[in-house]
Symmetry: C2
Subunit: 347 residues, 2 copies
Amino acid sequence: MDVDYGFVLSLINMNKGVINLKKPSIKDVAKKAGVSPTTVSRYLNNRGYISEKTRNAISQAMKEINYYPNEVARSLYTNKTNLVGLIFPTTNNPFFGELIYYIEEALYQRNMKALVCNSINNVEVEKDYINMLHANRVDGIIIGSHNMLLEDYKTPNLPIVAVDKPVDYDIPNVSCDNYGGTVMAVNELLKKGCKKIVFISGKRLESSYEDDREKAYIDVMEKLQRKPKILEVPFSDSPAEKERKVRKLLITNRDIDGICTSDDMLAATVIRISMELGIRIPEDLKVIGFDGTETVLSFMPFLTTIKQPIKEIAYKAVDILIHEIEHKERKAMEINFPVTLIKGKTI
Amino acid sequence: MDVDYGFVLSLINMNKGVINLKKPSIKDVAKKAGVSPTTVSRYLNNRGYISEKTRNAISQAMKEINYYPNEVARSLYTNKTNLVGLIFPTTNNPFFGELIYYIEEALYQRNMKALVCNSINNVEVEKDYINMLHANRVDGIIIGSHNMLLEDYKTPNLPIVAVDKPVDYDIPNVSCDNYGGTVMAVNELLKKGCKKIVFISGKRLESSYEDDREKAYIDVMEKLQRKPKILEVPFSDSPAEKERKVRKLLITNRDIDGICTSDDMLAATVIRISMELGIRIPEDLKVIGFDGTETVLSFMPFLTTIKQPIKEIAYKAVDILIHEIEHKERKAMEINFPVTLIKGKTI
């Protein structure tokens, strides 16, 4: 019944011709239009009188040879590049993918473009990128990755906004209500009668700042005079390492009946390992995640989670950054958007 | 048992102080170092004799006031920006998120940076971005989005590589073996005894090119003298519209026993709607996806799918682009990497 198909590497070099690549210059435009390079330059900079006929010839020549006026040169004059650097751990994650998407959408509406940098949670990569962004004269930076020693971001030269997690109290921060969202999550588990609730934290910060989600869990536990139990599964761990840690927790603590995770990827890992171990969800174990991205809700519509208003966070961060750029001043502030509970079937 | 928490918008403007933002200039460096701006300029451009003492003073001044040499100005001289434009529909999708991540990683190793543009599958947005990339003098472009009229990409001015799907036979293309992968997927369904196999296509291309995945399905069906049935669910449809189309297909064609989708997001939609309708997978209906990203396999480890070697595709595309940039020539070629079958539990 099978149709034959050889599964070998099909590497076909069609080699149907070679095209020589060359960026056209003002000289090429001048030659094509039959005028001097100075005239083209005057046309581009809107200086001095140029006849209608010459204008048309230059415009036509530019079109024909695909000449684009050089924004790089222009930006030296205006001291504005309309570029914004985004420093994030990775695009390869539903939460950051969605956040970057909406930041870029908001910037585009303001006629600005994004330079996206994936720091891969590596301090050296992040340092390289921040130097590159400075050197390329971006108009501002939006940070969603926080490995850098704080002083590297504190230079007063550049408009800057942090999203998701705070970098420093001097830098404006836009995020969801991380503290309130986690209290909401733990309360849902308590309502369902969970006796032993564990928090799994995908720690990302190499900073002295407390993690609001972790803090909220600890506060609730202490208020109830229960002993908090936290499993740390750093964001930078490999998928195999994350699985190993979660498996060990579930095998060695059979009395756990509620798990609250700091992101949905971790909730997915818990659910997967539970299935493997024959732990029934939600009968034996209740699980609640955090983030509620479009991608995760599409793959796991059954997941109970705390949904962040990602689009609102993105738009607000861009608003604040543009205010900094236009007014050349930075105001310390912290904006926390409310979250919502998505009622799935895992608690 | 609940801990009280008021779920109101907590918008706290800490307003702990205002910082004035100003980019330092060569003049500021000169003033700080106690030398003339010309001397600083000579230092930066490595021209003429400057004493050890003056060098140290300038270097120290640059550090103290956070002055970064202007790459924008430098790029005008070298005619090289070390920037590569990436045009993709969106970062908000596991496949593109992972592909962009690895492209950026490969570029970073070559000392180049990415300008990521999300075209949102909108022709106007894509046109704006391509103009912006030209104007910002990127060294090259990697395209994974193909709304543009072909001629817009065919300008011989710029090094360019297409990934995932071909743009034009003149432009090098790197993708997985889309045709072979789909033949593999349909064969798996045939092996399991499926009698009525439907292909669900998340069409992205606004081009005259045939979709290799769709074509492979049609070829196999015709070889077996079966009537092909294709449901088109464009990539740009809203999630609700995609669900509506899939639901209608499943309700009105109860005899379908095998579904092959052109991406995993569509497979996830089919599985979700099937669960709702009480259609058992794999007993009543077998489903096989395409792409096999790390994110999807983490959320749906039970999915049977065709896995693309995304990292290899990314690295090869960057290799080819850098060859074009360095040799100032473009060779037409098509490189198809082999795919692998991930045996899950959905067929």
